[in-house]
């Protein structure tokens, strides 16, 4: 004979959020030209496999001084399809003023949804890494989104030290 406890519901709706891993980089740096460049990286652990959970990469990188108006900007997890015109170039973009003076500002914003429409290897459980960077479709090695990342008072005496942030959200399907 089965009994039920008083006041205990039969089922609860679980929160979709499994975990969040956060990253910061508050160091000003020059951005070198490249045909396969990197602005930010980090390591995290994904708890569930590709069939159980998906990832949102959400973050922002402040830049200074314009350079390439387009350069194949990307946000990816290790295991992503690295061919041209693949999802690692989705959900990430940058724009700003069209000038190379010290006060010219750029915002690079990441809101990439990595789910089962992408490469399954990008969603494997275990030790994982992310990368934000660029890869021009024409292979030109003389590209970069802007010249400086995480600007500070070196760029303009009124500036405070800025920093890049990235959050890796793991959500249940």
């Amino acid at each position: 004979m089965a009994r039920k406890l008083l006041y205990v519901p039969e089922q609860t709706v679980p929160d979709k959020l499994v975990k969040v891993t956060r990253f910061r980089n508050d160091t000003r740096a020059g951005v070198s030209m490249s045909a396969d460049g990197t602005l930010m990286t980090g390591n995290f652990t994904k708890q569930y496999d590709a069939n159980t959970s998906w990832i949102l990469m959400e973050g922002m990188i402040p830049g200074g001084k314009n350079y390439s108006d387009q350069c194949g900007i990307l946000a990816m997890l290790d295991g992503a399809d690295t061919n041209n015109d693949t999802p690692r170039h989705h959900g990430v973009y940058y724009s700003g003023s069209n000038g190379g003076a010290v006060w010219d500002r750029y915002i690079l914003y990441v809101h990439r949804i990595v789910d089962n429409t992408d490469a399954a290897q990008e969603l494997n459980a275990g030790s994982r890494s992310f990368r934000v960077g660029w890869y021009p479709k024409n292979g030109d090695s003389g590209q970069r989104p802007f010249e400086v990342v995480n600007v500070n008072s070196t760029d303009d005496g009124r500036n405070q030290q800025y920093g890049s942030i990235m959050s890796i959200y793991e959500y249940l399907y």
Partner: protein
Amino acid sequence: MARQLFNFPTESITGGIINITKYKDSTRKAIAASSGATGRSALVNNFTFTKLRNNADSYILVTGIIGGMGMPNYPHIGMCCTIDQIGYGQTGQPAEAPNHPQGPAGGGIYYCGNYVVNEGTTFIIHKSFKEFILNSGSHRLDIGWNANSDVRPCEYINPNSTDNNRHQQCATHILVYEIAR
């Protein structure tokens, strides 16, 4: 023999995020200058999602990014992001939403770029609909602008190598969160 307590729900909410609906669009699209109802859905048009709980239990939060290209000289054009076409203000409100004040469709999306044809324009979306009365069932999301003349915030969204051979195919990514109150 199983027993159940009268008037007790068989399912309850623990809090946090109840549901998430994803929107992805990787198709390059030309953006025409337009006004009124046409502009309101020019960036995201009638994206439907299902809300699982009634208004008393949950609300909607929308976040996302749209990549654009070319920024014609229309710096402020009434960007709007709304659900069920509620609250555009300029031409009144739908009869099915009488409790909502005029204008709450505006905001929650903004964009930045420069006034050059080949340069990028970034749209960031972050809007809470906690004040909207949205019950369970099917709803629609629309994103665009609400202006009284023909304008546009950019010339293309989701640009690709057609626009510049350094470009990869870009894409819009938006999430519709249903969050417990």
